[in-house]
Symmetry: C2
Subunit: 353 residues, 2 copies
């Protein structure tokens, strides 16, 4: 299927082999889903780095964080109490675990294509009892000179959204979990609206409801309320099973534009877009019926978890029409692509028109 | 199994036949899970009233709220796209519905045993797109002269926690959904701690995690953050499958005491208790290993959904030892029972002692 994304010729920009593991005894399995921001004249990625030990025949092994450091759990693959049908999550003795442990790593670039690890910047790793299975898929929003990092915090307590803030990318203030389980894909708007912070987020329901995009508001960016469901999955379409917001919505003349991911029953992850009212972003005024990006390049079809394009970071270029997205392909590679906002608009179907 | 609850001889205090339905064409199926408070010298219940049309042979019918009023949905029981194995929730064409529509109704009593509907007080009903399947299981917390009502808001968007406040029980201020899907069992503490509101709540996880009790804090009671998981289900015990807080925790000398419900794999709902640190209620310092109340009376064993005792309302008596709980039995009746806090304490197992 043809789409309107202009992929970088240099894709994939980053592969697991391009970076050293964080810890002796671990390997990088996936490099994916970067948060993106501009800082000191450069383009920066906050890449999710998923690690595990080298896998040996007959054993599944994965790391978790404990109070004293990293512990490796090993389970024989023939253990009758092991369920390992998903590359990402396994169940052992009735308890779910991730097959990899993720942290977030800073990379920067002068040209937006060639990225390297700058000296003297810390890794962002899981801390405390709500992040023992790691932190993932960070969105970065710049508001009044402060960067707000919203990421998925994973532990045996559940999956929720954590917040840290920074101004210098060397020291970080922790604000705990701002959205409790089960929640992820939280993108804070980069501008207050009528004095309030706004954020998109994606709770999941065990029954009644689904994997839908919600919006919430906050007086301080830390405490959230007035939750409303604004985008649902659509039966029979490419986003029939789950939807989730990408990076911070883009302010345009006609409304706040969100690039989001949608997955179908076959776990194919595509990208689409929707538009929210400028004054009241809980009102969705348009949405693409077709995806704006569909996994089609080789690196999007084959990898750790194939048939996936997933974005949680972008740069709006100075022409205010070009959006450069960085995205995870097949849950294994970091790639780049450009969209024209005008072209996205041409695919939007407006409500009540 | 013997427990330490002293049930009212007059139980059940209220049965579906005791009240008129809210709407022509509906019947009251269940009267259950009252919020409880004292007001103008009386004991008040805010009872959940679950209604549906009289069920006819071969058809399942249930009401939902729409923008124009109440609509009845009818589904032939032999429709191959109907799954109706749970008395409370059905699935039709892949979408979940409740079999009954709940609203909240005020009853009051001079003696705490004989309750009646006072004149000139409104019904509390679902309003807006987040409450089309009704509102349920309200907790009432009195803070600085204002009553905070936290209840389950149900719609096809999901199940979350709504908040309304009142001072006179005739006019109510709506604060929207304070905790997004999937969440219920929210009990606000009746006193601020170090300047912050605190609440217990119960998110549910689709994978990784479970049905656990969390705590959150808030500057204003409306916007919530700093979520932490504090009580988990316990394998092999009576609370192995789900746990959820009852009414507002009770301030005692040794800590904040919460009476909570736990269910096992067989959907038997019992009550237990745990104790939180007075200064930092995210620290659990003790918990009962045994339940303090187990379904055993006839009206607790048999009804709309049998083998259930569930409380979300209580009064602490002037002796500061007696707690009168009101509770839902078998999801069909409202009952009462008394506990001695001293006796609950005797069942608490303290951590690190």
């Amino acid at each position: 299927m043809k789409d309107i994304a202009k992929r970088f010729e240099q894709n994939p920009l980053l592969s697991p082999k391009d970076l050293p593991a964080s810890t002796d005894g671990l390997q990088i399995t996936c490099l994916l889903n970067p948060g993106v921001f501009q800082y000191e004249g450069k383009t920066w990625l906050l890449v999710r780095v998923a690690e595990r030990p080298e896998q040996k025949e007959g054993v599944i092994s994965f790391p978790i964080l404990t109070e004293t450091g990293t512990e490796i759990i090993e389970i024989p693959t023939n253990d009758p109490e092991l369920i390992a049908t998903d590359a990402r999550v396994i169940n052992y003795k009735g308890v779910d675990y991730l097959t990899t442990l993720s942290h977030l790593r800073l990379l920067c670039s002068e040209d937006g294509i060639n990225f390297y690890e700058p000296k003297d910047y810390p890794l962002l790793v899981g801390e405390g009892m709500l992040e023992t299975f790691g932190i993932e898929d960070c969105r970065v929003a710049l508001i009044d000179g402060k960067y707000y990092l919203t990421f998925t915090s994973v532990s045996d307590n559940g999956v929720g959204v954590g917040l840290r803030t920074t101004t210098d990318w060397k020291t970080f203030e922790k604000h705990g979990m701002i959205l409790p389980a089960h929640n992820k894909d939280c993108a804070i708007f980069e501008e207050k609206i009528n004095g309030l912070f706004y954020a998109l987020h994606r709770p999941s329901s065990v029954d009644i409801g689904g994997n839908y995009i919600w919006i919430a508001s906050s007086p301080d960016g830390v405490h959230w309320g007035n939750h409303k469901c604004i985008i649902k999955t659509r039966k029979g379409l490419w986003d029939s099973k789950r939807v989730g917001a990408g990076a911070a919505p883009i302010k345009t003349e006609k409304g706040w534009l969100s690039i989001y991911h949608g997955a179908n029953e076959n776990h194919q992850y595509c990208l689409g877009a929707f538009l929210m009212d400028l004054e009241d972003p809980s009102k969705v005024i348009a949405q693409t019926e077709l995806p704006i990006m569909v996994p089609s390049a080789e690196y999007e079809l084959t990898g750790f978890f194939g048939n996936v394009v997933f974005t949680n970071g972008h740069i709006v270029e100075p022409d205010r029409d070009t959006v450069t997205i960085y995205y995870g392909a097949s849950d294994e590679f970091v790639c780049g692509a450009k969209f024209s906002i005008k072209e996205i608009y041409s695919l939007l179907k407006f409500n009540n028109v």
